[in-house]
Symmetry: C2
Subunit: 123 residues, 2 copies
């Protein structure tokens, strides 16, 4: 894949496509943490973790406080909402389509039954 990833949703999905980054997000879903705290459970250097954090920040999934010197990271729920909305829309379209198909098949089955009953009445 050499296509440049530029649009927001692609950036977000690409950032989520890594188990270490998802583990960082899971940690942050229970509260703010500094880079040092985030690095602790991983067999990774603080530098490697910092790279992952930059990817997550660039993707809008987390933000870093400007206030404290340790600049703790926090989850940005708005981007999670965007992803949930995209996924939800596609699930819903699929389900609505298959619900319609079910109703259509049920209507066809009813029509068959009625046609059968009418045919029987006529005989």
């Amino acid at each position: 894949m050499t296509t440049a990833v530029t649009d927001e949703l692609s950036l977000t999905f690409a950032a989520l496509a890594d188990p270490t980054r998802r583990a960082i997000l899971t940690r942050l879903s229970s509260g703010e943490a500094t880079v040092g705290q985030l690095a602790a459970p991983f067999a990774l250097t603080q530098q490697a973790i910092s790279k992952h954090i930059k990817v997550l920040e660039h993707a809008g999934l987390i933000s870093r406080s400007q206030a404290a010197q340790t600049r703790p990271c926090r989850l940005e729920p708005a981007r999670f909402d965007t992803v949930a909305e995209w996924i939800g829309r596609h699930r819903q379209a699929w389900h609505e389509r298959y619900d319609r198909l079910d109703r259509h098949l049920a209507a066809l089955a009813d029509a068959d039954l009625m046609a059968g009953a009418e045919a029987e009445e006529e005989t």
Copy 2:
């Protein structure tokens, strides 16, 4: 990023990190389509579309019928459910944490009010 993408969820998110692949999924959310039908709205060769379809198939987001010679593609809603579940869990953890924080701050404010009222009664 040189890390090999091997786990299922990473494969799925990586597959979603491309606007053409998301457009293919959007098309499939309204019903099955052949590779030719999927290629039509894009300024891409059928070969390029086939590559995207292989990525989506490998990621479990779509499947291809073995029955017909045209092997139409269809959405696999189960993988959408997995992604929705992961995203939903993190949103929920975040919201629960902030709801708890709100309740805690409200309790602190109430305690302050009561302490204030008691202090006034004593004077």
